[in-house]
Symmetry: C2
Amino acid sequence: MTEDSKVGTYRFVAEPFHVDFMERLTMGVLGNHLLNCAGFHAADRGFGIATLNENHYTWVLSRLAIELEDMPRAYESFSIQTWVENVYRLFTDRNFAILDKDGKAIGYARSIWAMISMETRKPADLLTLHGGSIVDYVCVKDCPIDKPGRIKVSHPELVGECQVKYSDIDLNGHVNSIKYIEHILDLFPMEMFREKRIRRFEMAYVAESYYGDTLSFYREQTGENEYDVEVKKNGSEVVVRSKVIFRD
Amino acid sequence: MTEDSKVGTYRFVAEPFHVDFMERLTMGVLGNHLLNCAGFHAADRGFGIATLNENHYTWVLSRLAIELEDMPRAYESFSIQTWVENVYRLFTDRNFAILDKDGKAIGYARSIWAMISMETRKPADLLTLHGGSIVDYVCVKDCPIDKPGRIKVSHPELVGECQVKYSDIDLNGHVNSIKYIEHILDLFPMEMFREKRIRRFEMAYVAESYYGDTLSFYREQTGENEYDVEVKKNGSEVVVRSKVIFRD
C-alpha cells in the first residue's frame, strides 16, 4: 500500500449557513467535517462505526487540535485530507490537512481516539482489532502543528452557564462534541471574531454530559491572545477543557 | 421547458452529528438543506444570491412549513426536490419534496420568499427582475400539504429566554433562520421527542434580531399535540412565530 493510498481526501463547499458573520466557515462546522472525514476514512477501511457497532465497539474522540492560517469563505470549495499517524494499544492518532480551493494547505488538525466497548464502556485493544490490521494504515505524512497539550485552568473565572437541551444531544445520547465547540466560542464577544481570527483551537474530551445537566464554563486568560476554558457539569465534574488562541 | 426540468433534485446523507438521540435527522439540519437547495436551484437558473448580490438584491425567507411522515435515519441517503410554484410581484412560493433512500416521498415543505434591496431593505418587484424570466420557472407539481397559516399566540406563557451569541449569527449579521428552529425545539422536553414525532413545523420570519439581543420564547398549547410559539426580542418586538404539531 502506498502512502498516498492511505490518505483519504474529501471535498466540501462552505455552505451559506455554515459561515459566521465574517463569512468564514465556523469552527464547529469544520470540526463536524473533520469527524465525518474520520468516519468516512475508517468506514472505507473496515474500522467505521457501522462495522464496529456490530461488534459492540465504538470510537470515542479524546482530543482535537486545529491550527489554521485561513478559513474557507462562504460558497468556496475546500477539501480535507485525513490519515492515521500512529496506533497504540489504547489510542490512535489521526491527522488532517485542510486544503483551500486551489489545493493549498490552510490548516492542519490532530485528533486522538480510543475505542470502547458499548457494553462495558471499557477501552478496547486496537492492536488486536481485526487481527491488528489497522496498523497497516499508519501513514507517514507531515502534520506541522503541535500535538494536543495539557490544558490546566489554574485561576478559573465563571463566564457562562447553560442547561443541556434537546439540540445539544447526539445519537449517542450525550452532548455532541461539536456543540461544546459552539458553546465555548460563544463565551467570547463578537468583537473578538471581527478583529481577530482563531489560530489554534484545542479540545480535550474528559467526560460525557447528558440532557438536563447544567454546564458551567470557566475561562482563564493565559496570554495576550490565549484562553483556557474548562467546562464542568452540575458544579463538579470536568467534562471538557479547551484552549483558544487568537491572532490579530 | 418541461415541468421535470424545472425541478431541482439534490442528494444528501444524514450525517452522524446531524441526527438527534432517536437517530433521526434534526429539523434544523433539514431546514438548512431546504434553504441550500433553494439556493442551488436559484443559482443554477440565474436567481441565486451571488447573482443578485451583484445587483444589490438578496432573497429573504418569510415563511416555511414542513410536514413529515418520516425522517431520514443516521447514515441514510435521501434527496430533496425543489421547484417554484408561484411568482407574485413581491413574493414567490417555493415548494419541496423530501424523498427517502428509495425515492418515496416522506415529506413536503412550502416556503415563501421576498427579494429585497440590500441598500434600501425594500422589497423588489419579482415580475420585472431579469425581464420577468423567473416566471418561466413556475412549475406544476403536487405539494400535498397546507400552506403556511397565520400563527397567533393568544395566551402566551414565557418558557425560555436567551441572549443572542456569536454562533447564532449568520453571514448577514443577524440570527440564522435555522438557529431559531433549534432554539424553539429546545423549549420542549426530551420525552416529547422520544415519545412523539413532529408532524408539521411552521416558521414565520417577522423581523431580524442581532448579536446581544435578548430573545424571549412564549408558548401556548393549542391542542393535544399542537403548540404555537412566539419569539420576541428585548421584551417587545416579535421576531418569529412558529407552530409545532407532534403526532404520537
